[in-house]
Symmetry: C2
Subunit: 215 residues, 2 copies
C-alpha cells in the first residue's frame, strides 16, 4: 500500500467554498485536489494500491481528514472542478467521529488531524517530503510494501506536524534541487516507487550498451 | 531553454468552451492546462527557462498553437479555471498568421500545427515522450541547453505527428513503467532535467555513505 497524506493548513474542512474560485474560497483546497489526481490517477485508470488522506485544517469543522482509497473508489475524474464537487459532497456529511466513516465507495471522513492518519496506518514506513533532506533516490525503504508519505501544501509542513512525525519515526526526503509544487513532488515520488516495483533504477546505464525499454 | 509541446488532438482552438465543464466542452483542454502548470510553475514562481507550446487541433479555428514563454509571462496561476480563463482570452484573438503574434507578455498565438513549433525552435534537440521507448534516465542529451519535448494528450501522439517528428530527428523517450498522465510525465522529466542541471544523478548512492542533501 502506498499512502500519501497532504496537510492543508487552511484547506476547507466544510463545504462552504465556491467551485468557481477554489483558490480564494477554499483555503487552497485546489492544491490538495491536484495532489489527489497526481497520487491516484494514471492513464485511463486509478492506482488501486494508493490511498490519499487530505488533512483539512481550515474553517469551522476543522480539523477533519478525508480518506480516498484507490482500491474502492469509483468515478474519480482528473479535473479540479470534478474533484472539488466530490469533496464538497463529502464534506457536507456532518460526521464528527474520530474514526473513518464511509461516505461512498472508497471515500471516508473522520474528525481529527494527522494522528487519525497515523492510527489508520500503524505499520507503514513514514516519510515526510521537505527541502534540504536526503534525496529520495537514495532512500531504500521507499520501496517498502506499506509506505505513508506526508506532504505539505503550498506553504510546506508546519513545525508542530513535523515534530510529531519525526517523533513517530518519519524520515525526511527531498525530491530534487528545485522547490516544486506538492502535486509534482507526488508524481516524482510515485515514478521512483514504480521504478522500484519494476526494478528499473539504473540511471547510469551507458547509452547504446543496454538501454532498457520501458513498458 | 527547455520547451514542451503538448499536442491536443481535439483541444479547442477557439474560445467557445465552458469554464464550468472544461473536460466535456473544450476537447480536453483541461489536460493541456494541467501540463502548463506542471511545466511552468514551481513553488511561488515561474520557471523562466521553460516555454510551452499548446498545439490545438479542435474546433473551427484549428489548428493553432499557443506559446507561453516563462521568461516573459506574468500572473500565471496554477488552478485550471484561471489557466482556462487565460486560454479563453488568448483564443478570442482572431489571429490567423502562421507566425507567433504576441497577445500579452509571454503569450503568443499562431495559426498552424507542429511545424510552427519546430520552426520556432530550429536548434533544439527533439524528443517525444511515449511508452515503450528508451528510459529518459539513460538519455544523455536530455541535459542539452536547448531541448524541445513533445507530449501527447490523454490519447498519446498520433501516427502522423510521430512520423513527422522522427523525420526531424526526434528521439522517443519513456518516463517509467506505468502509463501516467501527460502532466505527471512533464513533472518527472523536469525533475530529471533539474537533477542534470545540478549534477544530482546518482540513484545508486549507498545509503549512509554519502547521501547527498538536496536544496
Amino acid at each position: 500500500m502506498r499512502r500519501f497524506a497532504i496537510i492543508g493548513k487552511k484547506a476547507a474542512a466544510s463545504p462552504d467554498f465556491s467551485l468557481d474560485d477554489l483558490p480564494a474560497t477554499s483555503g487552497r483546497l485546489d492544491v490538495l485536489l491536484r495532489c489527489v489526481r497526481a497520487a491516484m490517477l494514471v492513464s485511463h485508470g486509478i492506482r488501486r494500491d494508493v490511498t490519499v488522506y487530505l488533512v483539512l485544517r481550515g474553517g469551522q469543522d476543522a480539523p477533519r481528514v478525508v480518506r480516498i482509497d484507490g482500491g474502492e473508489a469509483r468515478f474519480l475524474r482528473p479535473d479540479e472542478r470534478s474533484l472539488g464537487t466530490l469533496l464538497k459532497k463529502t464534506l457536507a456529511h456532518a460526521s464528527s467521529e474520530p474514526r473513518f466513516c464511509p461516505i461512498r465507495p472508497g471515500i471516508a471522513i473522520a474528525s481529527g488531524d494527522i494522528d487519525v492518519v497515523l492510527a489508520d496506518a500503524p505499520l507503514a514506513r513514514l516519510f515526510l517530503l521537505e527541502e534540504g533532506a536526503l534525496d529520495m533516490r537514495a532512500e531504500r525503504d521507499l520501496g517498502a510494501t506499506d509506505v505513508l508519505v506526508f506532504v505539505g501544501d503550498h506553504e510546506g509542513a508546519d513545525a508542530e506536524s513535523r515534530s510529531r512525525l519525526v517523533e513517530c519515526g518519519a524520515r525526511s526526503l527531498s525530491v530534487g534541487p528545485i522547490s516544486i509544487h506538492a502535486e509534482d513532488a507526488i508524481a516524482v515520488v510515485l515514478n521512483e516507487m514504480d521504478r522500484r516495483a519494476f526494478r528499473i533504477l539504473d540511471s547510469g546505464t551507458p547509452l547504446g550498451d543496454d538501454p532498457h525499454t520501458l513498458i
